[in-house]
């Protein structure tokens, strides 16, 4: 009975203090609003920066994960080195890139290499029925989809038997299938490149990395990029030989590339980095110039995580500083308020207010100010990521704890920066305070 009375009493007291605080703040509407604005921006920046940072790193990580975190991707790159110009003139065929020898050595010497996916590509027009498109014939292996995390949409992938038999079968990417056979069921149809015909056995989803990159670029006008026809690597060799002819800017160019791309999958995730080092050694030994490129998604992922950490620290500091500035603004205004209301404090003390009553009154006022700023800030902070997503088409992720944390910090700042002005108010001599003009 008595304890409930006490509880009711303190609740009543709190309610009255809050009402009084709002009344006092309402006397100076503009000033209170401007003061709270400091906290609004602080809180909003904490929430939106976290959301944007989280979204950006999520997007980067997703893209890297698409590459496969256990994979090491090797690509042939045309050397930019001009010192070979003399040699080039002598032999008309430019020979560069990854070789079957590299692959054999990697498989033989690097421990834990589960599989390698060699692939070669030929760029030329692809014909399907009466439609044609600038595309790529990709010679590869049956386990390509598994390793590349690519889902089949329809039909099937080619089999090991078909690779062994050098069968003229192919699997089309979704966009290629749509280009060549927009109305017909593509499976069972044929696709032609140069003079060779291939029977379609399946449709596979587009390369997500290419698809994402394409969205960023202007248009899909000259995108042979996504237009891939996958055929057994053996079939490719049979039909198109080892040398590639290109007609470019008035002169023929002949290139010989054994393998355009090789993906190595390392069974033990912990062995990915050592394996990458070993592969690098082999390639350095076999190639006099750097005509290859090695991508380690796991390494990229780790770097992305490191970047995210740094990003978070930087954003966190910026947000903390803006909240600090907001807090100092509040303290400044509360000190001015205390001076301005010296007489009121004197009156209250004369009428029986204890020091702690005065402290409480001013502290409540500061907390109302920063709390209101915090609520507004949460609103703005939730709105900004939505706008960023809507207008800039960026992924933003608001973690549930971010608004809670930001609001909590704003109230804490109210208490911290309110304590000094409140105690200054309470410590005033009642007689002097009453005499204050």
């Amino acid at each position: 009975m008595k304890s409930s009375l006490v509880r009711e009493f303190s609740f009543f007291r709190l309610k009255r203090s809050v009402i009084l605080g709002i009344k006092s703040l309402w006397m100076h509407k503009l000033r209170s609003f401007l003061t709270a604005l400091g906290i609004v921006f602080g809180v909003a920046s904490v929430i939106s920066m976290l959301a944007i940072g989280e979204g950006a790193s999520y997007e980067a990580q997703e893209q890297i994960k698409e590459l496969g975190s256990q994979n090491i991707i090797l690509e042939s790159v045309k050397p930019t080195n001009t010192t070979t110009a003399g040699e080039q003139e002598r032999s008309l065929i430019l020979e560069y890139g990854l070789t079957y020898r590299d692959i054999a050595q990697i498989q033989a010497t690097v421990p834990g290499v589960e599989l390698t996916v060699p692939s070669r590509e030929i760029k030329d027009f692809l014909w399907g029925g009466s439609n044609s498109v600038d595309g790529i014939a990709l010679g590869t292996v049956p386990w390509f989809p598994t390793m590349k995390n690519r889902d089949l949409i329809r039909g099937r992938y080619f089999t090991e038997m078909e690779m062994k038999d050098r069968s003229p079968v192919c699997v089309l990417t979704e966009s290629l299938a749509r280009q060549l056979y927009p109305l017909k069921e593509p499976i069972g149809q044929t696709v032609r490149m140069k003079t060779s015909y291939f029977r379609v056995v399946g449709v596979i989803e587009d390369d997500p990395v290419v698809a994402a990159a394409e969205e960023d670029l202007q248009s899909s006008s000259e995108s042979s990029e996504g237009m891939e026809m996958m055929i057994p690597i053996t079939t490719l060799e049979d039909h198109f030989g080892e040398v590639l002819f290109k007609y470019r800017s008035g002169s023929f160019e002949a290139e010989k590339v054994e393998l355009h791309e090789v993906t190595a999958r390392i069974e033990d995730p912990n062995q990915v980095m050592p394996a990458a080092l070993a592969i690098q050694h082999i390639l350095e030994r076999n190639h006099s110039e750097v005509d290859y490129k090695m991508t380690v998604p796991l390494d990229l992922l780790r770097r992305a995580e490191r970047t995210k950490q740094i990003f978070n620290i930087v954003l966190g500091s910026i947000a903390a500083i803006s909240l600090l500035v907001g807090g100092i603004g509040i303290m400044n205004i509360m000190l001015a308020t205390v001076t301005e209301r010296t007489r009121e404090i004197g009156i209250r003390r004369a009428l029986g207010a204890k020091k702690k009553d005065i402290v409480f009154q001013f502290l409540i006022e500061t907390v109302i100010l920063s709390g209101a700023g915090g609520v507004l800030g949460v609103g703005v902070g939730l709105g900004i990521p939505l706008m960023v997503t809507y207008f800039a088409d960026m992924v933003t992720i608001i973690q549930f704890w971010a608004p809670t944390l930001a609001f909590g910090i704003s109230v804490t700042i109210g208490v911290l920066f309110g304590i000094y002005p409140a105690f200054r108010a309470a410590d005033m001599n009642p007689v002097e305070a009453l005499r204050h003009e």
């Binding site: 009428l351 029986g352 207010a353 204890k354 020091k355």
Partner: protein, 247 residues
């Protein structure tokens, strides 16, 4: 030691009427740079319950200083102040706040109302600090506002009231906790003679109800209405009706 003194003091004189207020050799000093200003130079004073007192004296003689000490807003530099037999010097800051809130009521020359609060809310301030519940405190405040003739102005802000009306709010506020002693520092100083007279009428009624009333005034005519007059000069009591009679 002051405590035992207090007990003997009330023990000796405490047969029928113990003084509600007793000053013994009270001095108040202010350090002004190199100079020590003595605003009060040794005041001995006993005030009995139900006394109705005017304090007179030239400007700067220490009237307000003495009233602030009586009101527990200030402490004597030298000497002792006993309120209800209790040595005020022994009380903590919180105790003093409690004494001001429960036993004393203040009325100031400049009204000193809180600007952001309405008439009722101003009257409720002392009740709030005593933890009186909302409904009860509202009831008391409304009743007091009616008593001082402001029943129709309950929700007005101080700036919407005349000086006389504001002072009546201040009186109602001073009465809200039903204090034993009311202290008024030139309560009518800012008012014309008509409103001043109204205020004094209220004071007369309060004293008739048994309240101890101490008021500072510059007006000899008003001082004539009170049974007891104290004249201060240069920080000392020059004349006190009480001592004149007991002589």
């Amino acid at each position: 030691m002051p405590e035992s003194e207090a007990k003997t003091a009330s023990g000796v004189s405490g047969k029928s009427t113990d003084p509600v207020i007793e000053l013994r050799g009270v001095e108040k000093h202010y350090q002004m740079g190199e100079f020590l200003v003595k605003a009060l130079k040794g005041i001995d004073l006993k005030i009995l319950p139900g006394d109705y007192i005017s304090i007179l004296g030239p400007s700067g003689c220490g009237k307000s200083t003495m009233l602030n000490i009586l009101g527990c807003l200030d402490q004597p530099s030298v000497g002792n102040y006993f309120l209800d037999g209790l040595d005020v010097a022994q009380l903590t800051d919180d105790d003093l706040s409690g004494v001001r809130g429960k036993k004393l009521g203040f009325i100031f020359q400049s009204y000193n109302l809180i600007q952001q609060l309405s008439v009722v809310e101003n009257i409720e301030v002392p009740l709030y600090y005593q933890g009186v519940h909302e409904d009860e405190s509202r009831e008391i405040a409304v009743e007091l506002a009616k008593k001082v003739g402001l029943g129709k102005r309950l929700d007005h802000k101080p700036t919407e009231l005349s000086g006389g009306q504001q002072q009546r709010v201040a009186i109602a506020r001073a009465l809200s906790n039903d204090p034993a002693v009311i202290l008024a520092d030139e309560a009518t100083g800012n008012l014309d003679s008509k409103s001043g007279g109204d205020i004094l009428g209220i004071f007369d009624d309060l004293n008739a109800d048994g309240k101890t009333l101490i008021m500072i005034t510059h007006d000899e005519g008003m001082a004539k209405r009170t049974p007891r007059v104290i004249r201060l000069k240069d920080g000392l009591i020059e004349f006190d009706t009480y001592t004149e009679i007991t002589k």
